[in-house]
């Protein structure tokens, strides 16, 4: 059975159907990519799956359990975590504290214990800190652990977001343009990291503009255009689909920017 099951998901903003009846599945160890021109509804789709928006129709199932419209913090507890296209970093916290914040669900205790600084607080904090350091090491940020996050370069912040999302210990990870704004070397590193995570059993749902990356690492590709799913299949097949090519070329005639999804 698939880990994440999306059925007929839809939402409108002021009469505009941002996402219209989209459905697909993601299994463990699988990398599924969502592609499409700007304004196709990719980020909106992500926001509905991750509970940031409440879908107006359709359903989301996580491991067989319906989680449609569930608050993001409950979804995190169920093993779904994500990164953001436009960075959502805790700017004024240290790099390490950003990653430690990802351990919130495992680190939190009673507020009274926190107020009195009981030994249990320190024990949990130590575990969270060790885990966070290991994750920072994994994304290559360990030597910047005590730096204020706001001082980091864009590419590093992208990796910090991934580390923070991994701290939740997700079973499914939603990555919204993890390689955007990264140079070739950084993209390569992120690419390797994603493939490695999938091998470890994490299901990956990816929105990405870098076609090379998508075609290289995805098992399955979903193509959105104006809120609707127009194609899906293995990368090689999708890239030959005439409707997909038309959607992309059409979009490029209107504007060739590649900012918002």
């Amino acid at each position: 059975m698939s880990l994440l099951e999306i059925k007929d998901l839809g939402i409108s903003f002021g009469g505009l159907k941002a996402v219209d009846g989209v459905g697909f599945e993601v299994s463990e160890r699988e990398i599924v990519s969502v592609i499409g021109p700007n304004g196709a509804g990719k980020t909106t789709l992500f926001n509905m799956i991750s509970g940031v928006y409440r879908p107006q129709r359709g359903s989301v199932h996580l491991d067989g359990q319906e989680v449609t419209g569930t608050e993001p913090h409950h979804l995190a507890a169920l093993g779904l975590s994500r990164t953001f296209q436009n960075l959502q970093i805790f700017q004024e916290m240290s790099v390490l504290d950003n990653a430690v914040a990802g351990f919130h669900l495992r680190e939190r205790g009673s507020i009274l214990a926190d107020m009195l600084s009981l030994p249990s607080v320190h024990r949990r904090a130590r575990v969270a800190r060790d885990g966070a350091m290991a994750l920072l090491d994994r994304v290559g940020l360990a030597d910047l652990a005590n730096e204020e996050a706001g001082n980091l370069s864009y590419g590093r912040l992208k990796r910090l977001e991934i580390a923070r999302a991994l701290a939740v210990d997700p079973r499914i990870l939603l990555l919204d343009e993890p390689a955007a704004g990264c140079n070739a070397v950084e993209t390569e590193e992120i690419d390797a990291l994603i493939a490695e995570l999938a091998r470890e059993g994490v299901a990956i749902l990816l929105v990405e503009h870098d076609m090379k990356l998508v075609m290289k690492i995805s098992n399955h590709v979903i193509v959105l255009d104006r809120g609707r799913k127009i194609a899906e299949g293995p990368p090689a097949e999708v890239s030959r689909n005439p409707e997909v090519i038309a959607a992309y070329l059409g979009a490029e005639e209107e504007d060739d920017a590649h900012a918002d999804g």
Partner: protein
Amino acid sequence: MSKWLQLAILAALIAALPLLFPSGYYYRIGALVFVNALAVIGLAILIGQAGQISLGHAGFAGIGAYSCALGPEWLGLHPALSLLAGAALSGVTALLIGRPILRLRGYYLAVATLGFGILVAMVIQNERALTGGPDGMAVAELGLRDLLRDLGWRIGGGEFWYAVSGIVLILGAWIALNIFDSPTGRAMRALHGSEVAARTVGIDVASYKLKAFVISAVYASVSGSLLALQNRYITPDVAGFLHSIELVTMTVLGGAGSIMGAVFGAAILTILPQVLTALADYEQLVLGAIMIVVMIFMPQGLLPYISRRLRRTGK
């Protein structure tokens, strides 16, 4: 700076400052600084940590102050128990009103909390039979000083309240620093940085905003109680709009991001008006100008600015 170092510095200052006092009057100013600092520490948790504004926290100070005034008179409650009852009442009130109003953001939240503060002040003003209205009312003696005298330790009123407020302030700073260093503090700073990101790592944003609100309300309440007990008299001004603004100004001026900044801000804005009285008519003008200059050149607040300068020259 480590928690224990900060607490040690605070305790040393509180213990050593009286050596410089030329007269008993200064003990009263010192006690007033500590009482204000306590409320401001609470606001540093709400504003500096959780990033939520309140323009009505004097309302909680009013609840605390009038609990100490009304408890002994109407319920026969000991003043110390009245302080605790007031803190509990403030906490419960914050819990009840916090749920709906903390859904609001930015200036909407500011206006809603402002409304709460004005409401409390109006109730106190209008319930003359109970509170004496705008004239205020007398507050019972705490009684601890008599107890000490019976034990053979004579201590003046100024010194006594300086010591009590100082001890409560150290306790309050200790709890606030614990929160700062804990998962709760991290969750509050995280939601301050990005609510949506905080939610996706499992932080229940609404619940942590509420916790910050309730904690800060209890701090304000205890501050109001101590003020009532040491002045032995209380007027509705303690719950007034101006007091709310004063508390927020102290928080931001000192540096909302740090607990010691809060204490510093309270000290500056309590002492400065005393010093500036020499300027008579121009007192408010100079005070306002100092505040504007600080906020323009040190937007992070006084203490963070000073500590950064010190670190830079130290290098």
